[in-house]
């Protein structure tokens, strides 16, 4: 599709792939679909330190190259170069969760075995440290035979190193490519992964995680269920009450626009089209935009914090009764926002019968486009009085309408299970991710200037040089330059090499002094068992 080098981001689910993708590509993303499946293709443009553009594709998270669901199939086909309409990736970025090394390394080894130029992003090293893990990326790199870059995607740490490593990979030229799944047994790979993880973990202290303590409450059979219901209730109550003022405001604008059209245009077909068609039609929907946005906000928050998996856990026993799994709860909850992404979310359900049932009942959930209708009917027929402290009758009726939708969907699922999708259901197996504080688009902890990739910041104020051309010394308060410089300073090695005119030989070896990484597929054949790379000596 483009002539740029194609780099694929692969890894286990919950390894932080998407956060890394967002951090690397910023706003330059393109969403699409793989042909024939409802799997989203997320691609973005990334600039290497030397300015070359690269197309980065965020592949669906998977646990191994043996697919059990359509999106895992896409990942497998993509890295093997078999995905329809895609070329074989020029390089892979394998994302592993630093605190789940032994498990994620198994898949990483499988991927490295493909023989493509590869760099490993050792992600979430900060959370691993919080968990009492101390890792040595250098040892990991030696054992795996590929560069390993510690990163914290949500804090944008290690990204420059990662880009530099990619640059080295892509410049070193393609190695012998044998894109076929290696016939190594699962057990062998697993043992190897465990061995490497043990070597790379320098220190490990048992730590009681916050997640465990929170889960004791949120996963409690009684308390957890009550909290889930309360959360949903608050959510819908908020949709109704918070959206009031902005909706009134929008309504005022729509009316003003209508009045403006009436005053300026002569009566006739154009006047009627604009007033009754465009303003009347679009305006009626736009008024409900605040409600839709608030609902989407809540659903995204639940997803980002890791609560969605808990909700699935709590609901599994109930869902099992109508022949579904707790996994179906997430697509169904998303269907409250819109059935289309809800149905798309069913791709994570591996069992085809489970998936079909979920797809069929998803449209029965009250989607946000039905919200205007509910709102209209409630406003017309239900008086706005209070039935208790903080509980409005209108909000309560809204809640009950949603419940009616859920009950209807459950009945439909039960009926479908007896007829169309008869058979054994697949059960419920799911990883419970750690709780996380959601971040707005993954980059809120940096000043605005830093959100740009470095080459752009450089282009603005210091074209490849150390000094701000706008006036060295004259503009000490240039915040943008200061920020750019701060990022730049972290690449101490890079600068040193650049100053010495050896930018081509730059190897990233910073990041808290732990990573000495020698990029390039060739490094596999470079002797650096004794701790020092031959290429550095020479």
């Amino acid at each position: 599709m483009s002539s740029f080098p194609l780099v694929a981001l692969v890894g286990n689910p919950n390894a932080g792939k998407s956060a890394l993708f967002n951090a690397l590509t910023g706003a330059r993303q393109k969403l699409g679909n793989y042909p024939g499946v409802t799997v989203e293709r997320k691609a973005g443009r990334l600039s290497l330190p030397d300015g070359r553009p690269v197309e980065l594709v965020d592949l669906p998270g998977t646990y191994s190259l043996a697919p059990t669901s359509p999106d895992e199939q896409v990942t497998r086909d993509f890295v093997l170069g078999k995905q329809q309409g895609e070329k074989l990736p020029d390089a892979l970025v394998i994302v592993v969760d630093a605190s789940n090394l032994d498990n994620h390394l198994r898949f990483a080894l499988e991927l490295i075995g493909l023989g493509l130029p590869t760099v490993v992003a050792l992600n979430m090293v900060d959370l691993a440290t919080r968990d009492g893990l101390e890792l040595d990326a250098r040892i990991l790199s030696m054992e795996l035979g590929v560069p390993v870059i510690p990163t914290v995607a949500v804090r944008k740490r290690g990204l420059d190193d990662l880009k530099a490593a990619l640059e080295t990979l892509l410049s070193s030229g393609a190695t012998e490519i044998r894109p076929s799944a290696p016939p190594v047994s699962f057990e062998v790979v697993r043992k190897e992964a465990r061995r490497i993880a043990r070597i790379a973990i320098m220190r490990e202290t048992a730590s009681r995680r916050l997640t465990g303590a929170v889960d004791r409450v949120l996963l409690h059979p009684v308390a957890g269920f009550v909290i889930l219901l309360a959360l949903l209730f608050v959510m819908f109550q908020a949709v109704f009450s918070w959206a009031g003022p902005p909706a009134d405001l929008l309504e005022g604008w729509v009316l003003a626009l209508g009045a403006f059209i009436t005053n300026t245009l002569p009566p006739g077909i154009v006047h009627d089209f604009l007033l009754q068609g465009v303003v009347g039609g679009v305006g009626a929907v736009v008024v409900f935009l605040p409600q839709i946005l608030i609902l989407f906000f809540f659903i995204l928050m639940l997803e980002a914090t890791g609560y969605m998996a808990r909700a699935a856990f709590i609901m599994d026993a109930l869902m099992a009764r109508v022949g579904l799994s707790g996994r179906a709860f997430i697509p169904l909850l998303s269907s409250f926002a819109c059935a289309v992404p809800g149905i798309m979310a069913t791709r994570t359900i591996s069992d085809p019968k489970d998936r079909l049932t979920t797809i069929l009942i998803a449209p029965l959930m009250t989607c946000s486009a039905r919200l205007p209708v509910y709102g209209l009917i409630i406003a017309a027929f239900i008086p706005a009085r209070s039935v208790g402290p903080g509980i409005g009758l209108q909000g309560l009726v809204m809640f009950l309408l949603y419940v009616a939708g859920i009950v209807g969907a459950m009945l439909a699922a039960w009926a479908l299970r007896l007829t169309v999708t008869k058979g054994q259901s697949s059960g419920f197996l799911m990883e419970m991710p750690k709780y996380q504080l959601p971040r707005a688009a993954g980059h809120t902890d940096r000043p605005v200037a830093a959100r740009r990739d470095l080459p752009e910041a450089r282009g603005h104020h210091h074209s490849g040089d150390q000094h701000c051309p706008v006036g060295a010394g004259q503009l000490p308060a240039c915040a943008r330059w200061r920020t750019a410089k701060r990022i730049f300073n972290r690449g101490a090695d890079r600068r040193r090499h650049q100053r010495a005119g050896r930018a081509d030989r730059f190897q990233p070896r910073h990041f808290a002094g732990t990573a000495a990484v020698h990029g390039g597929a060739r490094s596999r054949r470079v002797g650096h068992r004794d701790g020092v790379c031959d290429r550095c000596r020479g």
Partner: protein
């Protein structure tokens, strides 16, 4: 002892897994989650209002939710995982 009857929050390790009792895809997924002979395991939470709900376990460093039918196929022994078995990491 079956994982199903393992008391909550008492460290144990996996003795044997009855892979035949699981469907191939379930078995594969469990393996991918790190379930294997010798891996340390700890039952953390039981779900479901009236019982019969799923079980959340810590396997290695991962928290995994599974149904009771899966847990019934996993035979565990209490105590820390022995060092010589390959599954041990978080002991």
């Amino acid at each position: 002892m079956r994982l199903l009857s393992l008391p909550l929050r008492s460290p144990a390790y996996i003795d044997t897994v009855d892979w035949d009792a699981l469907s191939p895809s379930e078995g594969q997924r469990l393996r991918e989650f790190g379930v294997c002979e010798g891996a340390s395991i700890e039952a953390l939470h039981r779900g479901g209002l009236l019982g019969g709900g799923p079980i959340a376990c810590r396997v290695g460093r991962m928290t995994v939710a599974m149904r009771r039918s899966h847990a019934a196929a996993i035979e565990v022994r209490t105590g820390p995982a022995p060092d010589d078995l390959p599954g041990n990491l978080a002991a």
